[in-house]
C-alpha cells in the first residue's frame, strides 16, 4: 500500500479566521460551523496558505494509508494521533542498493546493529520500477567560487508522496537514459543531509549534499553532474529510502562523535540538525571532526560556525592551507585525545565515520593511539561498540 502525505488543520489551535480558505487558490479549504478542513483530493501542497495562518494550525501534516475524509475532519476536537505502524509495503531489498551499501559499510567489517534508541526506519518503499518523483525545490553551490571542488546543496520536494527518512539513511538516484550498451544507468546512493522532519520543518522535503565529479577527478560522474545541473522545479526519480544501521541514537544522554570529510558531512549535518531542533539542551555531547582541503571546500562552513560551542564541539582540519602543515581529521582527534578517551569509556557514546574510502584507516590509528595512552584496548572496545550499535563507518 502506498503511503500518502495529508495536509490537515489542527482544530485545537485554529481560530476559524477564514484566512486560509480565502487564500487557497484551489478552493481546497472549506468549513462547517465547527471546523476548517482540507480536501485531500484538491490540495496540491502549494503552501500558499501556510504563512498567512496566524496560528500555525494550518501547518499540520500526517502520513496516512487512507486519507482522512472531510467528514472525519469535521468531527474532530483535536488532531488525531498520526497512524502508527503503517503497513507501508516495503519492497523486496534492492540488490543494486544492497551491494552499494555493503561496499560503503565494508570498512566497519560486517553488519552493525542500529543504536538501541534509533527510530524504526522505512526501507525500500520505492523501487526502480516504482520510483517516487521529487521536484527540485532548490539547488545551490555551497563551496566558494574559487574552491577546487563544486559541492551542491540540493533540496528535493516530494509533494504528496510520503517519503519518510531518518538521519543517516540514503536515497537512490538513477540518471535518466541508458548507457552506450542500451542498459539503464546504475543507481547512485546519496546520504540525506536533512533531519527527518525535512530541510524545512513540516515541508515534505529533504536535502542532499552532492559533489560534482569532474573529468579531472578521474572520470566525469554521470549522476552527480545530472543532479548538480538540475534547475529548480525540474523533477527527478528517487528510489529508497535505504539503510537500517547507520542511524542516530534518540536518547538525550547519547554522546555523538562524528568524523567526516567532504560530502561525508551530509549525515552529520542531519544528525546535528535533529539534535538542534529536538533537544538543543540535551546532556549528551556532540563532537565533530571535519576535514577538507581548505575552508572554501568545506560544505556548510558558514552555518557550522554559527552553532554555539556548548551545543557542539567542532574541530576542523585542513590539508591544503598555504603556509600551514597538512592536517587531517586523525591529527585533530589525537589533539583531543584526552576528551575522546573520556567519551570512549561511556556506554552512551556513539561514533560515526563518513567520507572518502581510506579515511577510516587514519581514524582507526588515531583511536588506537588514544586508547593506548589511556590504558584502553581499542580492538576490544571497538568490538563491543559494534555489537552494541555504537560504531558506524560508511566510506565510498
Amino acid at each position: 500500500m502506498a503511503l500518502n502525505r495529508q495536509h490537515l488543520i489542527d482544530p485545537a489551535v485554529c481560530i476559524r479566521c477564514n484566512t486560509c480558505e480565502e487564500t487557497c487558490p484551489l478552493d481546497a479549504i472549506t468549513h462547517d460551523a465547527t471546523n476548517y478542513v482540507v480536501d485531500y483530493d484538491k490540495c496540491k501542497g502549494c503552501m500558499d496558505c501556510i504563512s498567512p495562518c496566524p496560528t500555525g494550525a494550518i501547518d499540520s501534516w500526517q502520513t496516512v494509508a487512507t486519507p482522512w475524509t472531510l467528514d472525519d475532519q469535521y468531527s474532530w476536537d483535536d488532531l488525531p494521533d498520526e497512524p502508527e505502524g503503517l503497513e507501508a509495503e516495503e519492497g523486496a531489498p534492492d540488490e543494486e542498493a544492497e551491494e552499494l551499501r555493503d561496499k560503503a559499510e565494508a570498512a566497519q567489517g560486517g553488519k552493525v546493529p542500529p543504536p538501541f534508541s534509533a527510530a524504526h526506519p522505512y526501507v525500500s518503499l520505492y523501487s526502480k520500477d516504482n520510483p517516487a518523483t521529487a521536484r527540485i525545490a532548490g539547488n545551490f553551490r555551497i563551496t566558494g567560487s574559487g574552491a577546487g571542488s563544486d559541492i551542491h546543496h540540493i533540496v528535493l520536494d516530494f509533494g504528496k508522496a510520503a517519503f519518510p527518512v531518518l538521519e543517516g539513511q540514503c536515497i537512490g538516484i538513477i540518471p535518466p537514459g541508458t548507457d552506450d550498451k542500451g542498459n539503464p544507468h546504475l543507481m547512485r546512493l546519496y546520504s540525506v543531509a536533512s533531519p527527518r522532519d525535512g530541510e524545512r520543518p513540516g515541508h515534505n522535503n529533504l536535502a542532499l549534499t552532492v559533489k560534482r565529479v569532474r573529468e579531472e577527478d578521474g572520470m566525469k560522474g554521470l549522476a552527480s553532474n545530472y543532479l548538480c545541473d538540475l534547475a529548480k522545479n525540474e523533477t527527478v526519480q528517487v528510489v529508497g529510502p535505504f539503510g537500517d544501521s547507520f542511524l542516530m541514537p534518540n536518547h538525550p544522554s547519547a554522546n555523538i562523535v562524528m568524523i567526516c570529510t567532504g560530502t561525508g558531512a551530509a549525515p552529520m549535518r542531519a544528525i546535528t540538525e535533529r539534535r538542534r531542533r529536538e533537544m538543543p539542551k540535551a546532556p549528551g555531547k556532540l563532537m565533530l571532526f571535519f576535514g577538507a582541503r581548505t575552508p572554501d571546500e568545506l560544505p556548510y562552513f558558514g552555518p557550522l560556525q554559527k552553532l554555539p560551542k556548548d551545543f557542539i564541539d567542532t574541530e576542523l582540519a585542513y590539508s591544503r592551507l598555504a603556509d600551514k602543515p597538512k592536517e587531517y581529521v586523525q591529527d585533530r582527534m589525537k589533539t583531543r585525545g584526552e576528551d575522546l578517551a573520556n567519551l570512549l569509556q561511556s556506554e552512551d557514546t556513539f561514533i560515526y565515520v563518513c567520507g572518502l574510502k581510506g579515511m577510516e584507516k587514519g581514524c582507526e590509528e588515531a583511536f588506537e593511539e588514544i586508547c593506548a595512552k589511556s590504558g584502553l584496548n581499542w580492538e576490544a572496545l571497538r568490538k563491543i561498540m559494534k555489537n552494541q550499535g555504537r560504531y558506524h563507518v560508511e566510506t565510498y
Binding site: 487564500t23 460551523a33 496558505c49 500555525g56 520543518p201
Partner: protein
Amino acid sequence: MTIDYNEKIPNNVNLSEDRRLQRALEKWQPGYLEWWDQLGPEDTTNYDVYLRTATSVDPKGWAHFDYVKMPDYRWGIFLTPTDEDRKIAFGDHKGEKAWQDVPGEYRAELRRLIVTQGDTEPASVEQQRHLGMTCPSLYDLRNLFQVNVEEGRHLWAMVYLLHAHFGRDGREEADAMLERHSGDPDKPRILQAFNEDTPDWLSFFMFTFFTDRDGKYQLASLAESGFDPLARSCRFMLTEEAHHMFVGESGVGRVIKRACDIMTEHKTDNVRKYGGIDLPTIQKYLNFHFSVSVDLFGQELSTNAANFYTMGLKGRYQEEKINDNHQLKDDPYEVSELKGDSIVNVEAPALTAINERLRDDYIADCQAGVNRWNKIIQKAGIDFELKIPHRAFHRGIGTFSSVKVSPDGRVLTEAEWDHHHGQWLPTPEDRAYVSSLMQAVTEPGKFANWIAAPDRGINNQSVDFEYVRFN
C-alpha cells in the same frame, strides 16, 4: 507585487509616481514616529522583537519573520492587487464598476467612515502602552508588540486613503488622528471603547478577542465597499487582523487552561489561593468586554447605516456570499426591542437594521470562540460553562442603554442591578486581584503562574525561543 523597501515609505501603490502625495505622506511620517515614541509601547525603543513583516502582498511573501527594532518597523501602504473588473456588489450602484476615485456626492460619508475606522487603530496602541512592563512571558510580549505594530500599520492604511483621496480636509483628518488620544478628557478617541483603560493582560486578551473582533467585522464590511481603494486596503488589513483574534482567543484559552489545571491538581475551586484566575472572574471580564464591544456596532436601527449601504460604501459581512437581492429595499430583518419590561423580537426593515445584522454575525462568531474555550473546561472534566451575556446586558449605546438587564436577558430595577452587578462585572476587588498577578516574566520559555504555555511557538519556533531581546 513586491514592496519597494528602498522607499522611505514602503508601498505597493507606486507612491514615487505621485510626488505630491509622496511629499504629503513624508511630511506626516515624522509626526507618526514621534507619536509612536511618546505613546507607543513604553521604553521599548531598543528591543529586538521577532516580528512578522510583509515583503509582498501575495501569500508567499507577506509573512517574513525576523528581529526588528519597533521604531524601524517598515510601516507602509499595502493594498491587495486590483481586480480590473470588480463590480459594486450591493446598494443602488450594484453592478456598476467599482470606483477608483471618491464619488463627489458621497465624499463626506466616506471620509467619516475612514476616520472612524482609522481612529481606533492608534487608540488601541495607546491603550496597551504600559502592558509590556508586566508581560507573562517573552512569547506574549512579542505577540503584544506584533499587534501594536500592525495597528500602527492600519493607521497608515487609513491615512493613505485620506491623503490620496480627500485633499486638504483629508490631510487635516490625518493630523487629527495623532492629536486625539485614548482617555484624553479634552481630545478623546471617537469611540468610547477605545477610551477605556487596558489595565492588565486578561483585559488585553479579552480586548483582542472581543473588541478587535468588532474591528474584523467593520473591516470586512468595508472590504465590500464600492470605493475600491478602501476595499483593497481593508482586505489586506483583515489578513493581519486574524493574528489579533489569535492572540485573544489563545490568550484567554490559556488563562482558562491554567485555572483548570490548578483546580485539577489541587482538587479545589479556590484557584486564587494558588495564584490563578478563577473561572467566575474570567466570566465577569468576558461580560464586560463583550458588552462594551457590542456597543461599537451602533444603534439597532440606523438611517446612517442604511444610507452607507444604499450608497454602496459599506456592505454586510461577506456580502457577496449572501444569496439575496443585495438592495434590501423591502426585506424584513428581525431585531430585539424593548417592550415594557421585556425584550421581544420584532421585524424591522432590513436596510435600517444593517448594524444589527452585523452585530448578529459578530455575536455568532464570538459564541463559536467561547464554545472552544468551553471545550478546554470540558476536557478537564470541570462542570462550568462560560456564557456570552444577553446583547441587552450593560449597554451604553442603543435601545437597551436606557435599562438595566441581567446577563440572561431579564430587565431589572435599579435596585436589583445595584444589588447584583458585582456578580456580573469585575469589581474593584477582582481588578485589584488580577492586577496583583501582573509581574513581568522575561526568561525564555517561562510563563507567569496564572497562564498556561501555548501549544506551539510562533513561525514554528519553539515555545522557549527568545522572542524579544532587551539589549
